[in-house]
């Protein structure tokens, strides 16, 4: 038997060691060399999930139900598989929004709502209270077992007295206060605390495994031996099948489900998983290592339970204490002491983290916003007040737990109390999960869902616990209030097929999810709500997608700094603003008006300490002007977009005008050009007309004056006159001709004709002209026939024109003209090459214009009327063909006419 003073000395020694670990962790953090930035420490800190309930209660539950304790650890294993997807998103969002607790997280998702933060806090405190009382019960139970085992009379007058639990609560409160409220900035992680928790997880694991090994291999000869003996005991053999589980497979499933939610959404789990997370990538290791921890710590639960039942057969030993009783019974006092420390580790770890998490929620999401609203709390010197509030909350939470323990605790086994809390934590799951993946989940919906789920939970689990403890008449539970069994908390609407936990989980989830979805579907969320919803669902990484657009009005930088200073102290505020200014390359004067980015920065700085909802209240207290509504925002955007639209239209108009002006200018140029051309033409025509007229007149005057002229001369003169008049006629005809073709008056005769004949006729016509000028004409015609549709005479005219031009312009000495007819699939080409001086590229287009003449030819003076090619072009176009000119390699040019076949 251990003397009491040894037990107490060891207990306090152990707590002292924890302090040392935590102190070391904090020191290292302050020095910037974090020891908790490590996936293994992270995983061990998550193992705060295994509480005194795991340590003592699992064995108790195994002794009663066989594998009934397992869903509580299989659920987290399943949930861990989704951590890589789900938890990383939550961690990421929490870092973006400086989330301090689960209440803060849910409130932030639903428009930073104060009401939701408050409701979540209330649910958490009421729901977790039984769980804290459970730890107190576990610790006092283990003390009493150690003290009173075998009914050895206790040493009298010992100062711990009767009320172990109260002292335990008080000591733990001191512990939590020392760890949890060193800084007021709660997003600065509690590194020391995490280090201590991880250490405790190691201790409880080693202790439990030690007793497991002792029982299995020292009391029995291995697991085979143990189970074989157990098979002989009917009540144990019964536990080797699922039938032993009260509630059967439905209970198995519902326990798995609430454990899945509990591992993430119990306030303390959220604290270590999310708030204390250093690096998102640590989740990778935790996903398999944490289930492995659970696996290992549960390996010996059944052997210990069976051994206990067999060893204590007939003796009245509480199954919850068998872990401790077994080594004691076999006289291994040191092992018992180690096991006791393991249990102490499990319980204290949970209580410390839970009370810190709850106190943060209580102060940030419930008390501070209310006090700010009611103006009970002035923002001056708020930092100190906050710390006091938080410390008070820790003490309050632990005392509430103690109260519940005194009122209820004695009447329940450990596991049942824990499951009541699990069912409460499950109420957060719909709001978080739907909130993360469904943008439509609205603030009112979440509020309704949480409230409905909480009320159903309280009615179906909390209320009966009071009745069972004798504080309310048992008739409320059975048959039900006012004797109506349909209202009975354990069988609502006479649903009797489930055990109480499954029954409560079913109804509360039904109401929770139902209200959340139904109300959301008929809700019209405000702008801020929609913005937060979108950011949470998208898991947006960009930190500049804040909601600062919702603040407007003018606030001086000095005022903002003052606000932060009240909370964090002047020095830290000054430092924060200076580093902000440095980062953004700004310089603040005392009168500088804060921009939206700075407002956002300030709000987040505040949120780090007091949570999102309180930060919003504080900001609105100093910002002049209301937070901008989405409607206002929309109006501004509408106006802006209208202005933009107008200016765009104006721009377009002016662009159109410019285009029109340019077109006008071009037309004008053309007109001027044409005018010049026309003048030239008139000149040319006059000149052309005058030349023959002059010669006719001169000759006729000679004939008139010289009556006795030599008849030969007279004949010659008359011949010239005839020729000149012919030329005049031709000229006049051409002008008329052209204007007819131009105006489209002559469509020409459409007949089927042989193009080779046309070309040959033209060749025949020009052969004389060529001979006169010593030009050699060659040609290349296809052997077969080339049929086109058109006006024969007009086409002859075109070819003649091209040929005579070529003859006129080709080389003086050795003129060569080559005519080629090429048949292509869809058209026929007529090419006329000469070896003249060629046509300059800029002229090539324009020679087909009417009145245009090659002014700069070698021969100096224009030859024709300036209409020939224009007529050709008009004719060819009338036939649906094209005409253009190209360079003839080796000098001269090629005129090309294509006609459709």
């Amino acid at each position: 038997m251990l003397p009491h003073w040894v037990i107490l000395l060891v207990s306090f020694g152990y707590l002292g060691l924890l302090f040392a670990v935590a102190y070391y962790g904090d020191k290292r953090a302050d020095a910037g060399r974090s020891i908790i930035s490590n996936p293994y420490i992270y995983t061990f800190s998550i193992a705060v999930y295994c509480t005194g309930w795991t340590f003592y209660g699992s064995v108790g539950r195994a002794a009663a139900t066989g594998v009934g304790f397992l869903p509580i650890y299989l659920g987290p294993t399943l949930a861990a598989l989704l951590w890589w997807l789900l938890l990383r998103k939550i961690i990421h969002l929490s870092k973006v929004f400086n989330i301090t607790s689960i209440a803060d997280f849910i409130a932030s998702r639903f428009g930073k709502s104060m009401k939701i933060g408050g409701l979540v806090t209330i649910i958490a405190v009421v729901g977790i209270m039984p769980y804290i009382s459970l730890q107190l019960k576990a610790i006092s139970l283990s003390f009493n077992t150690l003290f009173h085992f075998h009914g050895i009379p206790q040493e009298s007058g010992f100062f711990l007295g009767e009320d172990t639990a109260l002292y335990v609560a008080l000591i733990l409160a001191v512990f939590a206060i020392l760890f949890g409220t060193r800084h007021i900035d709660v997003t600065e992680r509690h590194e020391g605390m995490v280090a201590a928790i991880a250490f405790e997880s190691l201790v409880k694991f080693l202790a439990f495994t030690a007793v497991g090994l002792f029982v299995t291999f020292s009391i029995y000869r291995g697991p085979g031996d143990l189970y074989t003996e157990a098979m002989q005991v009917p009540e144990l053999a019964r536990l080797m099948e699922m039938d032993a589980l009260p509630g059967g497979y439905a209970a198995w499933f519902s326990l798995t489900f609430i454990s899945m939610t509990a591992i993430m959404f119990l306030p303390r789990q959220f604290q270590v998983l999310v708030v204390e997370n250093v690096n998102e990538d640590h989740v990778r290791t935790a996903t398999w290592l944490f289930p492995l921890y659970l696996f290992a710590i549960n390996l010996f639960v059944i052997p210990i339970a069976f051994a206990g039942v067999m060893q204590f057969a007939g003796a009245s030993v509480d199954p919850d204490t068998m872990v401790l009783a077994l080594p004691l019974m076999h006289g291994h006092n040191l092992l018992a002491l180690f096991v006791f420390l393991g249990g102490l580790s499990a319980a204290t770890g949970m209580v410390i983290v839970e009370s810190i998490a709850l106190s943060t929620m209580l102060s940030n999401d419930l008390l501070v916003p209310i006090m700010l609203r009611l103006k009970l709390l002035r923002t001056e010197g708020m930092g100190g007040v906050l710390l006091t509030i938080r410390r008070g909350c820790i003490l309050g939470v632990l005392l509430l737990g103690y109260l519940y323990f005194r009122l209820i605790g004695e009447s329940y086994a450990l596991v049942t109390i824990g499951l009541v809390s699990f069912a409460a934590a499950a109420q957060f799951a719909p709001a978080i999960l739907l909130g993360l993946y469904w943008k439509g989940a609205s603030r009112s919906g979440a509020l309704a869902g949480l409230a409905a789920g909480f009320v159903v939970w309280a009615y179906t689990l909390l209320l009966p616990s009071f009745a069972k403890s004798g504080w309310l008449p048992m008739s409320i539970v059975d048959p039900g209030p006012f004797g109506i069994s349909a209202l009975g908390p354990y069988h609502l609407l006479n649903l009797t097929m489930f055990d109480p936990i499954t029954h409560s989980v079913f109804w509360s989830m039904l109401f929770n999810v139902g209200f959340l979805v139904a109300v959301s579907l008929y809700d019209r969320p405000t702008g801020l709500d929609q913005l937060q919803a979108a950011m949470f669902v998208q898991g947006s990484r960009a930190s500049d997608t804040g909601d600062t657009r919702f603040w407007h009005g003018t606030t001086r930088v000095e005022d903002l700094k003052g606000l932060v200073a009240r909370l964090l102290g002047v020095d830290r505020a000054e430092r924060a603003f200076q580093s902000y200014a440095r980062q953004h390359g700004l310089k603040f004067n005392s009168d500088t008006v804060a921009d939206a980015m700075l407002l956002e920065f300030t709000e987040r700085e505040l949120a780090k300490t007091v949570g999102a909802a309180s930060a919003r209240v504080m900001m609105s207290s100093i910002i002049e002007g209301e937070a901008l509504s989405i409607e206002g925002l929309m109006r501004i955007m509408d106006e802006t977009s209208q202005v933009i639209e107008y200016s765009r239209q104006l721009e377009q108009k002016s662009r159109e005008l410019e285009v029109a002006t340019q077109e006008l200018q071009r037309t004008n140029e053309r007109l001027k050009e044409l005018d010049v051309l026309k003048d030239d033409f008139v000149n040319t025509i006059s000149h052309e007309l005058r030349t023959p007229l002059t010669s006719i007149r001169a000759l006729s005057e000679i004939l008139h004056d010289e009556i006795n002229m030599d008849p030969d001369d007279r004949q010659r003169f008359l011949g010239i006159m005839v020729k000149e008049t012919e030329r005049l006629t031709r000229l006049v005809n051409q002008v008329l001709d052209f204007s007819k073709i131009e105006s489209g008056a002559v469509r020409g005769i459409q007949e089927d004709l042989e193009l080779t004949e046309v070309v040959q006729e033209a060749l025949a016509t020009t052969i004389q002209l060529a001979r006169d000028r010593n030009v050699v004409i060659t040609n290349q015609l296809p052997s077969g026939s080339v049929r086109v549709t058109g006006d024969r005479d007009r086409l002859v005219q075109v070819v003649v024109n091209l040929l005579s031009n070529a003859i006129k312009y080709c080389d003086d000495q050795a003129g060569k003209v080559h005519l080629r007819l090429v048949l292509e699939p869809e058209e026929v080409r007529v090419e006329v090459r000469d070896n003249g001086p060629g046509i300059r590229p800029e002229e090539r287009e324009r020679i087909f214009e009417k009145f245009h003449q090659l002014s700069d030819t070698v021969k100096g003076k224009p030859h024709g009327t300036g209409l020939g090619l224009a007529i050709c072009k008009a004719i060819v176009q009338n036939h649906g063909g094209r005409i253009w000119v190209e360079d003839n390699f080796g000098g001269g040019s090629i005129f090309i006419v294509t006609l459709p076949v």
Binding site: W84, E241, T287, W288
Partner: protein
């Protein structure tokens, strides 16, 4: 169809693993193991549960093993 990026493929594996694990650890598959028999002296039900459990842990570890990839941002699902 092109190859999925490795991170997306891993998410799919995890979800599939989750579904498989939920099925293996619940009715009706679980009921198949609920028999009065021993293997090496250990009841079949316990063997089954702990074996599946170990398998899940192993699969999760293998799925997330590749450390070469740095943590990528949480994906939309």
């Amino acid at each position: 169809m092109g190859r999925l990026p490795e991170s997306k493929r891993r998410n799919e594996r995890l979800i599939a693993l989750f579904v498989a694990a939920v099925l293996a650890l619940n009715f009706p598959l679980l009921s198949l193991a609920s028999v009065m028999k021993n293997f090496w002296g250990i009841p079949v039900l316990y063997l089954y549960l702990f074996f599946i459990w170990a398998l899940i842990i192993l699969a999760a570890g293998l799925t997330l093993r590749n450390r070469r990839e740095t943590a990528d941002p949480p994906e939309e699902t």
